[in-house]
């Protein structure tokens, strides 16, 4: 293998380049990204960066890294076609031949088809965050469409900076897709305490020059409207090349598409959940980087291992550090431990643990979930104390 091309110079694409070199790959390595500048991390965009504006702190590796490791970084270049038969990708009038291709194209913001959606601001890229910072230089009334992680992290920072904030969420509770009702309600109280106005079960129906109008008819006056209603995977390239796409680029447990010369990772990839086998797409630093490491090991060391990493995630909202270990389905049962830690169960099996400001339990949960299945009965027998598990 002499030529590896990675499409998408984000968290996962860069990690693939790092890991390929660490595993000893010596061939040509090209990392193509649509955005300008050096690859950077997104999590601080809705957290520290909104406050500090320190863009240098976001970059994942300094410029010297790319030279030293012979990684050809091609920025501001959008790949528009994959020619699988010819094993070459095209970006405008440039083309890049590959022996192996890694798709790391991530996601883009979802624009629900409501009137006036084009008036909204986004929070996905550094450029988006820079725009938001500029707009927030004087007191503003902010409307947020979507009560998920990004909308709520933004709300917490904006309130901290003294802006007015109103969040509209279609579901009856916050972060409903990914956390238990107990955690949703904890964060509902937190945001209310911070002074954010929450409209639950009441989606935005229209965005106007004066703010947003909710489905119930409620009008929310606002100077800016942030669209944080989820994302769309960037999977069109793969689809147009004849690869299976179903809520993302479909890969097997080796993170390979049906084409043995094309892998996919991170936010754009749909892979079998190691525990249940059901197809999942995760949007987390953990998935992007663990995927990248597995692909590098397979390509360079020939290690033919199924992907088996335990998912984990975090979100900072004001003084609350939410951490999630594992992966629960929306209907999984819930047990609340006296200290507030939430244990999720798929039938009798521990599926996830959600904690707030409790790193110890989070780390214990990650360790436990990496081993054989942990049963509800075994946990109940030790009062849900991981340290006492046999």
């Amino acid at each position: 293998m002499d030529r590896i091309v990675i499409i998408g110079a984000g968290q996962g694409g860069l990690q693939a380049a790092i890991s390929l070199r660490q595993e000893g790959y010596t061939g040509a390595l090209t990392l193509i990204g649509g955005e300008a500048g050096l690859p950077y991390q997104r999590p601080p965009l809705s957290k520290a960066y909104l406050k500090s504006g320190d863009a240098a702190a976001l970059r994942l590796r300094p410029e010297s890294f790319y030279d030293k490791n012979a990684v050809e970084l091609v920025t501001e270049t959008w790949v528009d076609r994959i020619d699988r038969a010819g094993r070459v990708v095209h970006a405008g009038d440039r083309s890049f031949a590959y022996d192996h291709l890694i798709l790391a194209t991530g996601t883009r913001n979802l624009r629900p088809p409501i009137p006036g959606a084009e008036r909204c601001l986004d929070l996905r890229t550094l450029a988006d965050a820079q725009t938001l910072r500029t707009v927030l230089d004087s007191p503003k009334r902010c409307a947020v469409i979507g009560g998920g992680f990004i909308g709520l992290e933004f709300a917490a920072v904006a309130r901290g900076l003294g802006h007015d904030v109103t969040v509209a969420e279609a579901a009856p509770r916050l972060m409903a897709r990914v956390v238990s009702p107990e955690i949703s309600s904890y964060f509902k109280d937190l945001h209310k305490r911070l002074g954010t106005v929450l409209h639950l079960g009441d989606p935005a129906a229209e965005v106007t020059g004066a703010g947003m109008v909710l489905k119930s008819g409620t009008e929310v006056a606002a100077d800016i409207v942030l669209m944080a209603a989820g994302v769309v995977p960037n999977a069109e390239l793969a689809g147009e090349a004849g690869l299976e796409v179903n809520n993302g680029v479909v890969v097997n447990d080796r993170l390979l598409t049906a084409d043995p010369d094309i892998s996919a990772l991170g936010d754009c990839a749909v892979f079998p959940d190691p525990t249940t086998g059901r197809p999942v797409r995760l949007e987390s630093v953990q998935a992007a980087t663990d995927h990248a490491r597995l692909i590098a090991k397979r390509l360079i060391k020939g290690e033919d291992m199924p992907y088996a990493a335990v998912p984990w995630f975090w979100s900072d909202q004001a003084d609350a550090k939410l951490q999630i270990a594992g992966l629960a389905a929306p209907g999984d049962a819930t047990h609340r431990r006296a200290d507030g830690a939430i244990f999720r169960f798929a039938d009798a099996r521990l599926s996830a643990v959600e904690t707030v400001n409790n790193a110890r339990t989070h780390m214990q949960a990650r360790k436990a979930l990496a081993g054989p299945d942990v049963s509800r009965a075994a946990l109940a027998a030790v009062d849900y104390d991981f340290a006492a598990l046999a």
Partner: protein
């Protein structure tokens, strides 16, 4: 600039110049020092930046920060009294010459 020496589990020694008030994790990544991962970007969320502060420097780097103990508890390498999360060690000018040892694995 602040000099930092990283000694890997296999004895490989790398000395680099870090920017003042950067941290020991970021300085390793910026200079391609293998053995520190720093997955969460220094948010104290991942424990993949575990290091052992050389005994001669323990006094200067000070005690662990709030919350560090809990994360370290579950770090991949053996946790010793001089274990720290390297993202939590700020390169103040008085740390010029700092020596840290790295565990065999970070995850």
């Amino acid at each position: 600039m602040v000099k930092v020496t990283y000694i890997a589990a296999d004895g490989t020694t790398t000395t680099v110049e870090g920017e003042a008030f950067s941290n020991v994790m970021q300085t390793a990544l910026d200079n391609d020092v293998a053995g520190i991962v720093g997955e969460c970007g220094g948010s104290m969320m991942c424990a993949t930046c575990h290091c052992y502060v050389d005994e001669a420097w323990q006094g200067k780097t000070g005690a662990r920060n709030d919350g560090e103990d809990d994360m370290l508890d579950c770090a991949a390498g053996e946790v010793k009294p001089n274990s720290r999360l390297s993202c939590q060690i700020t390169l103040t000018p008085d740390l010029d010459g700092l020596v840290v040892h790295l565990p065999e694995a970070q995850y």
